[in-house]
Symmetry: C2
């Protein structure tokens, strides 16, 4: 009875707007109820996190995740495609360690975590003075002083930015460009304050980007608490040095796959709507929010359509992309095959911002074209339809004119987990995950009914 | 530089609207930055949770919390008032236990948690057959069959409702009225499926409401997992009985206090804006989300005004109410004194829905009067200004014409913690807490500048 009352309320609310259709409003209410009542996503995510675990491209766990993804996808898709792709295979070494030296005396061990793609130190490690640097431009000013030093990129993320992804983008140059920029001036290694807003003991890994014509130097993250400790010692005038050992290596590329599940469109089968997340993760934690949640949400879209008997007018594809974290080879492969096959991917939605409460969508371009649909989402407090970054895996589709859309969950907690040992199943909330799936499925439903015109 | 860029952006965004004032927009941006950069709230909350702990009205910890509140309030208020109030003093007994009997054989111990206000069982406990009931109307239909039974109110919260407070309100009749309604038909005790949406092992306590002319029977919560187990056994046709012991008691009323901190208004000091949470909690967990967060957020409003040098035109009061959970004596006392002193409390905001990411406000009446302010909140993704329930402690101010406003955080996780051993400091996120404080302080700022006209 209560559900019917709610449906009736939706009628009343939505009939006052010229833009909305009552049947669509009811269908979307059914999508939310289905996701919140019958979703297997949380159980799937537990399996992926606990039975398979973290799954960096090229690892045995990544291969297991592909096999699992194929099995799960076959339960809900009419057709499953496996898109073969060669991916990089970087392996963290067993001997990551660092010792802090204060005023010439051994002080304590520091927990360091090599950045993704980092080269190893010599076997004996590297010992050098620590030089704290606030920014890439500060580094430039220091010039000659950088030579022979271990550069400590110390700038925290800006806590006053509301969307934490903005703060991440802002401070992230230190992790991405920092190692090569420091190497230009003769630095011997780099440590980076972790890209997180919480004061805690988790170092955050993530990709670095070496320049081609600059010596590759080893680089590692330290936790925000460790970075704060170093800041304090430096403020006290202490002279800091570090002994650091990293034994990571880049192995030959490995064969892997995107897992693609499809429901064929009934009226415009040639028009394809993609919804995806990435199956690979960093090699710490369990890849729960990054991006196990995006994978199970993408598959849940297909399941919801099947469970409710919705026959989409356009083709829907759930895609579990491989290798988002350190290469985007899966995303590039999907776009390459789409071009090769003359496919018309009209829209692509990526869920790669965590499994938190949904707030809306970021559109690569012209969100105003889709604001007519906002009234459908208002009953679920989904009110963010703005321009923004849609997602790394779908980005290669941009030249083909695909409308790119990023699913936007609440961002406040995301960087407490991102790329750390703390990105585990326990930190995902079942209802928040399911609310996200329903929100994505509702947009896919509208796209499948009306296209992108 | 970045902050200035953001301020400029606010200019551009807001100047396009006729309703907003650029100076106010800048002030609100400063409020958010202050809360996200310099707030002591998280540290205060840790102290309240870890050093004082849970604090049911009348308990020694509640007295400690009052003393702590007075000290903290004096740090930020111009004047601190202690409003004396007599509160009920219910005490959970040491011997809560239950044993499930299946088809006449002892099966296992069940974790039961007496509902707040429950009477004790006889010392030897009560043993009776379990009768599962879906609703109060189902109970009525069963009539004579209820006699001598332990009624098991089994109806889950409706997972399809988006705001979990709606689902709580809906299923909550079982906990509140269930015991007396069952007693009308001769039940000897009641167990209630916990008011939570997660499948877990935490029973949720909370107030029951005995009718005056019906025998008082003991009542306890069982976890959702335990309730699911019972449902399964019943579906299998098993005959269930329960042996239950509860040793709680109601002691004489105790003296306690509302803690009230004030900043006098510079232009209209007689017009008062209240912002409050409640200092008491249930006697399990640490009273973190319910309602330590509301207390520290209310005090944070005053601190932010002081830190930014804002001299409010109207008087602002932060109130730590006593006894929200089992009597509302503090809320009633505040309203009684306001009437006695001919105070003009123009608006009251309560934060008692958890410390999660802010979504907006629920107004007791006419949210349309305040929608002109929504553009100020849009940069923070605060977009909910609707009619709704404002809060239990401020409700007694209603007859005086006070505009009542409930702070609305995201509700998805709240009932994972509410009234359980799981409502601990660790489940509060620092940024979410601070975003909430900033949102409340921004509304208080606008109210203090423009009043409620």
């Amino acid at each position: 009875m209560h559900k019917i009352a709610l449906l009736l309320l939706s009628f009343v609310l939505l009939e006052s707007s010229a833009q909305v259709n009552v049947n669509d409003s009811i269908q979307i209410r059914k999508i939310y109820s289905e996701a919140l009542s019958n979703s297997p996503s949380y159980t799937q995510l537990r399996y992926l996190c606990k039975k398979i675990g973290n799954r960096l491209s090229g690892s045995p766990q990544a291969a297991k995740a592909v096999a699992w993804g194929e099995i799960e996808m076959k339960k809900i898709a009419d057709k499953v495609l496996m898109q073969e792709v060669m991916v990089p295979h970087w392996v963290r070494g067993p001997k990551e360690k660092a010792t802090l030296i204060v005023d010439g005396k051994v002080n304590k061990a520091l927990y360091v975590l090599a950045l993704g793609g980092s080269v190893a130190t010599p076997k004996a490690g590297i010992t050098a003075e620590i030089l704290a640097v606030d920014s890439l431009s500060h580094l430039k000013k220091l010039g000659e002083k950088v030579k022979g030093k271990i550069v400590f990129f110390r700038r925290p993320m800006d806590a006053t930015l509301i969307n934490t992804f903005d703060a991440y983008g802002d401070a992230g140059d230190q992790r991405r460009q920092g190692p090569s920029e420091a190497a230009k001036y003769g630095a011997v290694a780099v440590i980076v304050r972790s890209l997180g807003l919480a004061a805690d003991n988790y170092p955050h890994t993530g990709m670095l980007s070496y320049l081609p014509d600059v010596p590759k130097i080893p680089a590692a993250a330290i936790s925000t608490n460790t970075a704060n400790d170093l800041d304090k010692l430096i403020a006290q005038g202490k002279k800091l040095a570090l002994e650091i050992s990293i034994s990571s290596q880049m192995l030959p590329d490995e064969k892997s796959y995107n897992v693609v599940g499809e429901i064929k469109g009934s009226q415009y089968p040639e028009e394809i709507i993609v919804v995806g997340g990435h199956l690979d993760s960093w090699d710490v934690g369990e890849g729960a929010h990054d991006d196990g949640t995006g994978c199970v949400q993408s598959m849940e879209v297909l399941r919801i359509f099947k469970a409710l008997g919705i026959k989409p007018k356009r083709t829907i594809r759930a895609v579990l992309f491989m290798n988002e974290e350190n290469g985007v080879k899966g995303g590039e492969k999907y776009a390459e095959l789409a071009k090769l096959n003359n496919e018309k991917n009209i829209a692509a939605i990526e869920s790669d911002a965590g499994g938190h409460t949904p707030r809306g969508f970021d559109f690569s371009d012209s969100p105003e074209n889709f604001k007519k649909w906002m009234p459908y989402f208002a009953p679920y407090d989904i009110k963010h339809f703005e321009k923004g970054y849609p997602g790394t895996d779908i980005h290669p589709l941009e030249p083909s004119g695909t409308v790119l859309i990023g699913f936007l969950p609440d961002s406040q907690r995301y960087f407490d987990y991102h790329h750390t040992d703390n990105d585990v199943f326990e930190n995902v909330n079942k209802r928040e995950l399911e609310m996200g799936s329903a929100t994505i499925a509702s947009l896919v439903y509208l796209l499948s009914e009306y296209g992108v015109k």
